[in-house]
Symmetry: C4
């Protein structure tokens, strides 16, 4: 745990950190949680975070509740060692696997949003030898790589497969590497990263959709005409912009429900 | 039928048994029924029970109606021979397969809740040679075993595959054994047991989810990197606690619907 | 067309035929239509009928609209040549494939209800060599047989696969035979028959469920431990009674929706 | 871009073009958008258009928003070079792939409605060698052909797989040919055409349903008893009329939701 490498902060400055955040951003994060639950990427587990746009050494995430239940009051700020920034949040129950988020933000300055999920059709691709590769143009980001994290190699035989320590979070972030948008977690799910919150929701959704379509293509029988690396990267660039359209729909629906 | 082995009880004491039960517990059982219906683990068949926390020789279950219709007034107490405890419940229609519950409570003192379902993706694993094994960490409890009960061996050729007698209930409980969390029932479904009601709902749900993911992994093609026994047991311990999070969500939604 | 073999009827007697029918029975038929739509057995096509309990030479069915839209006012009486019985119904648009119903009622006096659907997972079993056989005990009625009707053999090369004439209805009824509960229709769907309306809804639903589970079992890989003929028949007897439980739920929900 | 081949139009005449359109037709187009979203043929992407019944050199389509959000005010007229006809629409954000529509209307005078979608179970058939062929009689239109457009051959290595230029639209229209109802787009989805809006919704829906059923039939194992060419064409003729029934249901539900 690199706790010493993170600056300590004045409580006064910190206490204000979420309160003064743009309420639109808080709503964005609430909407992202609810959207991924309604799209069946998240069930009662999983979590969504965004880097604090005012301070890249912090990120925002809900306290530990089911994503579809998240409201604005549940959002808190954490530092990159995944400790609550605000005094008043010290007693709240935190997601036990929050280190996934903090350690990825440390190692990937290009990443501003992270989703961890048990994406149902992705899980089978974490326990088989078939790689998850881009079938659908919306999932071109898979061309950036989707490596597999086999926790058994790091955590040893007694693992419960969860990322419960900063050290495991660091190992996961290392396995993600400098380029990939998705890290598969064996017998567990995945973590998806992106430069923005709308785009991470988009990527988490299309990772699941691509997994379903790749599974169907395997059922039909190969060879499968996957996107080339070049196509995938070109498509990914286009989708970084195009994710605005679904996000407008998803955000509106998610916030209208309550 | 071991009717004589069970104590007879004073009607007075019994008549009060459900009425004086904590209404929160009754609501828990109502919520468990509705939740498993809304999660598509139960259709119009199947049933959920919990051991009476005041008297381990009794259990609580609905009268015979579809699980998603269950309300507090439908809950009754049964003794471990699966006879209604209260005078006023003697005329009610009971689940014909209630012996699944009573006989498991007799043979498994560690079990405080039971679900019997026709879990749709579990059924195919009851008629094939592929064993149901833990793919997803939430389903680590499958590492405790998920044996198959072939009713044909016990009930003979004329079976309708149902557990309609105490004797068949006993055979099923014996096949479940002392450790397993799930017993597969050929051509029928499964019965799932747990130390608590929230955990049995959790296990019934993730048995279905694991079956879907194992089916997808088989479609992709082996070898499948199943959880090891040690991982499964470690994960199971973690999930006994972690099931509180989904339960909070499920309970709230189930009780809000009416 | 056996039009002459059916008695002509006095308009007076006929005009009253539906009006005086027990409104509970009309609601049953409305509920059956909506239920099978909400269970995704029927989409915007398909139809449900019941034999008129007052006159076995008539049956009751909706005019030609999508099943989920059916209301009491849409129900009309038809004779077994599938002609409207009541004067006021003569101008209504009828289901073009109503001969499925009329001809089955003629040939099967034991049948009191018929469903024709494009049951989505049944269709693949109509174009492959794998027979639909009972996997799940609720589908024991499949043990009575589920023959395939290859319309190409009867209707010739220019068929649109539909049962648009009394003659094709007769051929279909003949292929169903005297015992089967289900007739598969190649590239089209199925028709399901039962001694009662609740049971035909039950059978249509579990035909679809069994098809899904048999498909999953085939994916896992054989040999599949199907129900034996004896088990299937025993289970079918039990389910003729047990279908009351789902029916109570389905009917209530279907009629509450409007 | 064939901009010169299209007539320029008087702004006065044009400005009135949508305003004076029958509001029933505008509602039809709104309903078509929402219906295909609720049927899961469209997600937040995809678009639906109809040829302007008053001027075959124009078509009507929404501005660029998610299909399920489309309202009457979003509908605009475009010429066949896919430029907004009305002055007031010049600043609106347009679907970037609108050239799919314009170029098909140019090359296929028989076509009066077009749907472009990422139909989820169709995508796997665009990356494998299995052809999409009619299994279900409702999908007889597949007998008119469902060729594959491999954009890599036209757009080169750096393609993002989207139809972003008139030239790519023309290539797609050419690949569709003079007869087919569906063009598969590799790694992307499909475009479906029909002589009327109700029929194009019908065809887009049953293209997805047929893909699911063909996938299931392939899972069961061949040989698959596909519809013959003659059966497919006969059935297609019947369905051009029969699509009125589902359309009545879908339109009513889609417009009732808001």
């Amino acid at each position: 745990m690199n706790e010493k490498t993170q600056p300590t902060h004045s409580t006064g400055r910190i206490a204000a950190s979420v309160d003064t955040l743009d309420p639109v951003l808080i709503d964005d994060l609430v909407a992202a949680n609810r959207t991924l639950a309604s799209l069946n990427v998240l069930d009662a587990f999983g979590h969504v975070s965004m880097r604090d746009p005012r301070d890249p050494k912090r990120y925002l995430m809900s306290r530990s509740i089911a994503p579809e239940s998240v409201s604005a009051a549940d959002i808190m700020a954490l530092d990159l060692d995944s400790r609550p920034v605000n005094e008043e949040d010290r007693d709240k129950v935190l997601y036990r696997e929050r280190f996934i988020h903090g350690e990825i933000y440390k190692s990937r300055p290009d990443v501003n949003a992270v989703v961890h999920s048990h994406s149902p059709t992705v899980v089978p691709f974490t326990v088989t030898r078939e790689r998850l590769r881009p079938v659908l143009h919306n999932a071109g980001f898979l061309g950036l790589g989707a490596p597999l994290f086999e926790i058994r190699k790091t955590a040893g035989k007694k693992t419960d497969l969860m990322i419960l320590t900063p050290s495991l979070g660091k190992s996961l972030a290392k396995a993600l590497g400098k380029d990939a948008a998705v890290i598969l977690m064996r017998g567990h799910g995945d973590s998806v990263v992106a430069p923005s919150l709308p785009n991470v929701v988009f990527r988490a959704y299309y990772t699941e959709i691509n997994a379903r379509q790749q599974l169907a293509a395997l059922t039909i029988g190969g060879p499968i005409n996957f996107m080339t690396k070049e196509e995938a990267l070109t498509s990914n660039e286009a989708m970084l912009k195009a994710s605005a359209r679904p996000w407008a729909l998803w955000r509106k629906k998610a916030l209208a429900e309550r």
